[in-house]
C-alpha cells in the first residue's frame, strides 16, 4: 500500500513540473489563440542563458535578472516579428510558425552558448524525507511550492490588475477588451513577456532536475496532454491536468506497464486525454463555443 502511495505522490509531484510548462502555453493561447510550440525551446533558452551567466561568475540574482530580460525580450520579439504578420491566419498555421521559431531559438541559442551540458544547482538539497512513512523528494516539494506561488501570483495578476482583467476579457471578446483602453498589441506583448518569465521558472526547475541540455525542449511533449485535459485556456486546468497526468503516468507505468511490457507512459497520458475529451470536448475547464448558423 505504501508503495502505491509513494508512486502516486511521486507522480503528483512530477505532474506539477509538467504544469509549470503547461502554464506558459495557457497564457499565450488564452490571449492570442496561438499554440506556442516554441515554449520548449524557450525553456531551454532560459536555462542555458542562466547557467552560461552563472558559469561566467555572475551572482545568482543578477543572472536571473538578466535571463529574465532576455526571455521577456525574446517573447516580445516572437510576437512582433512572427505572430503579428500572421494575425487572422488559421490556428494551425500559427502553430507551424512557432515550430519554425523553435528551430531558430535552438539554433541561435547553441551558436551563442554552445551545446555542452551543464549542471544547474539551485542550492536545494535533494535527500529524500519521510512524511508519514512515505518517502518524498525535497526538491519536488520545493518545485511544487514554486508552482503554487506562481499560480497565486498569476491569478492575482489576472484578477486584480487592469492589464490582467483586460487579458481575461480578450479571451472572450477582443472588442470589449479594447474598450478598457489598452491596445491589443500591447496586451499580446505583455502576455508573451509573461510567458518568457514562466519559461524562466520552468527552465530553472527542469534544468536543476535533469541538467541543462538540449533535451529540455522535450518537456513540451509531457505538457501537451496536461493542456488537453485541463483545457487550453485555464491556468487552474493546467495544474489539475498536470496532477492527473503525473499521477496517471506513474501509476500506469507500474501497474499497466507490468501487464503490457513497460513504457506505457509514452502514450498513457494522451489516451487519457482523449478519454477526457470524449466526455468534455473542450477539456475539463475549457468552454465549447455554441454553434450558431
Amino acid at each position: 500500500m505504501s508503495f502505491f502511495v509513494e508512486t502516486l505522490v511521486g507522480g503528483l509531484l512530477a505532474g506539477v513540473m509538467y504544469s509549470l510548462v503547461a502554464i506558459g502555453f495557457v497564457l499565450v493561447f488564452k490571449a492570442s489563440g496561438v499554440f506556442n510550440f516554441a515554449q520548449g525551446s524557450m525553456v531551454l533558452c532560459a536555462a542555458l542563458t542562466f547557467v552560461t551567466l552563472r558559469d561566467k561568475g555572475l551572482d545568482f540574482w543578477l543572472a536571473a535578472l538578466i535571463t529574465l530580460s532576455v526571455m521577456v525580450a525574446l517573447g516580445i520579439a516572437v510576437e512582433r516579428v512572427v505572430l503579428r504578420p500572421l494575425v487572422n491566419r488559421p490556428q494551425i498555421t500559427l502553430f507551424m510558425a512557432t515550430l519554425g521559431v523553435s528551430f531558430v531559438i535552438e539554433g541561435v541559442a547553441q551558436i551563442v552558448m554552445g551545446a555542452s551540458v551543464h549542471e544547474l544547482d539551485l542550492g536545494i538539497v535533494d535527500t529524500p524525507i519521510e512524511i508519514g512513512g512515505v518517502q518524498v523528494s525535497q526538491f519536488d516539494l520545493a518545485a511544487a511550492g514554486t508552482a503554487g506561488i506562481l499560480v497565486v501570483a498569476l491569478s492575482i495578476f489576472f484578477n486584480k490588475t487592469r492589464v490582467g482583467i483586460a487579458l481575461r476579457a480578450i479571451a472572450d471578446d477582443p472588442q470589449a477588451a479594447l474598450s478598457i483602453g489598452i491596445r491589443l498589441q500591447t496586451l499580446w506583448q505583455i502576455v508573451w513577456g509573461v510567458a518568457g518569465f514562466v519559461s524562466l521558472i520552468a527552465g530553472l526547475l527542469w534544468g536543476a532536475r535533469q541538467g541543462v541540455q538540449f533535451a529540455l525542449t522535450l518537456v513540451v511533449l509531457k505538457a501537451l496532454p496536461v493542456l488537453i485535459i485541463g483545457g487550453f485556456t485555464s491556468i487552474a486546468g493546467a495544474i489539475i491536468g498536470g496532477l492527473i497526468v503525473g499521477a496517471g503516468d506513474s501509476v500506469a507505468e507500474i501497474y499497466l506497464g507490468s501487464l503490457l511490457g513497460g513504457s506505457v507512459s509514452t502514450w498513457f497520458a494522451y489516451v487519457l486525454a482523449v478519454a477526457f475529451l470524449l466526455v468534455r470536448p473542450a477539456g475539463l475547464f475549457g468552454e465549447a463555443p455554441i454553434e450558431r448558423i
Binding site: A115, V117, D121, D126, Q213
Partner: protein, 449 residues
C-alpha cells in the same frame, strides 16, 4: 501580393533550384589517380545528442591531424575528411552515406563510421551492396560479429552483449567471484529502444547460467521523468543496477536514484551512460557512480602527450573546450581513429601503399591485429585493448574498464580490462546470425580465406 513581388519570389525560387542542382551534381568523382585517403565523418553537432558527439569528433580529427602532421599520413598517404550532419537521424544518416560513398576527387572511401546505432542498422545491407565496411565501435548489431553473415559490418571492440557480460563479471569481481552471483538481484534499467533491448536475451541467459535474478525495467524515451521506475527499484530492492541509458536519461536516472535513496555506487552504467556529459548534469549526487567503458578516460596515455605537443599546443585541435581533452568521448574518438588507421595500414601492407578502397579495407579489418606491441608503438597502451579480428570475429576485444566518478573526474576502479564471457556469447551470436542469414537468404561466407 503585387505582380512585381510575385515575379521576384519566382525568380528567387528558380535561382534556388539552380543552386541545388549545381551543388548536388558538383560532387561527381573524377577518375584521376588520387594520392589521398578520404574519410567522411557522419557527425551530429545539432540536436539532443550533440553534447556527446562534439568531443568525440575532436578526438577523431585530432588523431587524423596527428597522422598527417607528424607521420606524414599513412605510409605517405595523407588523410582528408569532411563532415556530414546527421542529427542522429536515420534519414539524414542515409543521405550522408549516399553523398559520400562514391569518394571524393577520386579518393575512395575505405570505411564509413555511421555514429549512431539506428543509422548503422539502416545501412547494414546498403554497405554490402556498395562494399564499404561500417565500423561501429561499441554500438550496432551484436550478431554482426559473425562476419560470415555480415561481411561489411564491424561492431569492433565491445558489442552490447560484451558490455552486459563484462558488467556482470565486474559485479562478480566486487562480490567476490562468479559463484557469489547466485541469489543476487541485478536490475537493468534500459532506454526503451532497440538499443536498450538488445541485451535482454543475453542477460536472461547469463542469469540462468550464474543464478542471479534478472530484473528488466524500461525507461521510455527520452527518459526525463523516471519517478515510477525508481519507485519500483525501491520496492524490488536489487543489489545492483545496470544502467543502459542514452542522452538525458542517464543524469535523470542518477538524480532519481539519489532521490529514492538507492546508492549510486551500486549502479554500473553502460558504455553510453558513462561519460562526463552523462554525470556532470547530475551534480554532486553522481559521486561514486560507476560505468563500464572500452574508452577509459584520462589524458596521461602516451598518445595524449603526442597529441598535446603536436596538435593541441599548436592550436590545431578541433576541441573547443580544453577540459574535454582526455574525456571518455574524446578518447572514444581517438580509439575509433586508431582502429580505422591501423586497418588501412594492414590493407596497405597487403595491397600496396596507396589509397585503399572499401573492399580492400574490409580485408584490412579482417586481418587487423592490434597486439600489445603495436599498441605500445602507437602509444595507446591502456587506452585501447588488444584486438585481433577475423572473418569469424568482427569484434576482437570484448572487454571494458570500469570507471568511477569522484565528482571531478573518472578513475579506473576495475582490475584492468574486465573480460566478457566470449566463449559463452559467441555460440549464441553465431546462432542468431545464422537465423538472420536464413531469413534474408544469405549464404554465409567461407571463413577460411
Amino acid at each position: 501580393m503585387s505582380f512585381r513581388k510575385q515575379k521576384r519570389i519566382m525568380s528567387r525560387a528558380i535561382g534556388l533550384t539552380a543552386l541545388v542542382l549545381s551543388a548536388a551534381f558538383g560532387t561527381t568523382v573524377s577518375a584521376e589517380d588520387a594520392k589521398t585517403q578520404y574519410f567522411p565523418l557522419a557527425t551530429f553537432r545539432v540536436g539532443a545528442y550533440a553534447s556527446s558527439g562534439i568531443p568525440a569528433w575532436a578526438g577523431e580529427i585530432d588523431y587524423f591531424r596527428y597522422i598527417n602532421e607528424v607521420e606524414g599520413g599513412i605510409n605517405g598517404i595523407k588523410l582528408v575528411w569532411d563532415e556530414c550532419e546527421t542529427n542522429w537521424e536515420v534519414e539524414k544518416g542515409v543521405e550522408c552515406y549516399e553523398r559520400v560513398k562514391a569518394g571524393k576527387d577520386g579518393s575512395p572511401v575505405p570505411i564509413f563510421l555511421p555514429h549512431g546505432d539506428p543509422i548503422s542498422k539502416a545501412l547494414t545491407e546498403k554497405s554490402v551492396a556498395d562494399k564499404i565496411p561500417l565500423v561501429t565501435i561499441a554500438y550496432g548489431r551484436t550478431e554482426a560479429i559473425d562476419g560470415r553473415v555480415f561481411p561489411y559490418s564491424f561492431p569492433v571492440v565491445f558489442s552490447f552483449w560484451s558490455e552486459a557480460s563484462s558488467a556482470v563479471n565486474f559485479i562478480a569481481e566486487k562480490v567476490g567471484g562468479k559463484d557469489k552471483l547466485k541469489g543476487l538481484k541485478i536490475a537493468t534499467v534500459y532506454h526503451d529502444s532497440p538499443y536498450g533491448k538488445e541485451t535482454q536475451v543475453l542477460l536472461a541467459h547469463l542469469a540462468k547460467t550464474y543464478g542471479f535474478e534478472d530484473i528488466q525495467i524500461p525507461v521510455p524515451h527520452p527518459g526525463n521523468e523516471q519517478s515510477a521506475q525508481w519507485a519500483k527499484i525501491r520496492q524490488l530492492k536489487p543489489d545492483w543496477v545496470f544502467l543502459r541509458g542514452w542522452g538525458v536519461m542517464t543524469p535523470v536516472a542518477i538524480k532519481t536514484a539519489a532521490k529514492v535513496g538507492f546508492p549510486v555506487d551500486h549502479i554500473v552504467g553502460g558504455i553510453w551512460s558513462g561519460s562526463e556529459e552523462d554525470v556532470r548534469p547530475a551534480g554532486a549526487v553522481a559521486k561514486g557512480y560507476l560505468a563500464i567503458t572500452p574508452f577509459p578516460a584520462g589524458a596521461n596515455f602516451e598518445i595524449h602527450q603526442k597529441l598535446k605537443k603536436y596538435i593541441l599546443d599548436k592550436g590545431l585541435s578541433d576541441l573547443k573546450d580544453p577540459k574535454s581533452f582526455g574525456s571518455v568521448y574524446y578518447n572514444s574518438g581517438v580509439d575509433e581513429a586508431i582502429v580505422a588507421v591501423e586497418a588501412i595500414r594492414t590493407a596497405q601492407a597487403h595491397f600496396g601503399e596507396r589509397p585503399i578502397n572499401g573492399e580492400e579495407a574490409q580485408w584490412g579489418l579482417e586481418h587487423l591485429d592490434l597486439s600489445e606491441k603495436r599498441l605500445a608503438e602507437i602509444g595507446a597502451t591502456g587506452l585501447q585493448q588488444p584486438l585481433k579480428l577475423s572473418a569469424k570475429d568482427h569484434e576482437g576485444g570484448g572487454a571494458g574498464k570500469v570507471l568511477q566518478w569522484d565528482g571531478e573526474k573518472w578513475n579506473v576502479v576495475s582490475n584492468g580490462w574486465v573480460k566478457s564471457d566470449r566463449e559463452l556469447l559467441l555460440p549464441l551470436i553465431y546462432e542468431r546470425a545464422a537465423a538472420y542469414a536464413r531469413e534474408k537468404g544469405i549464404t554465409p561466407r567461407d571463413a577460411t580465406n
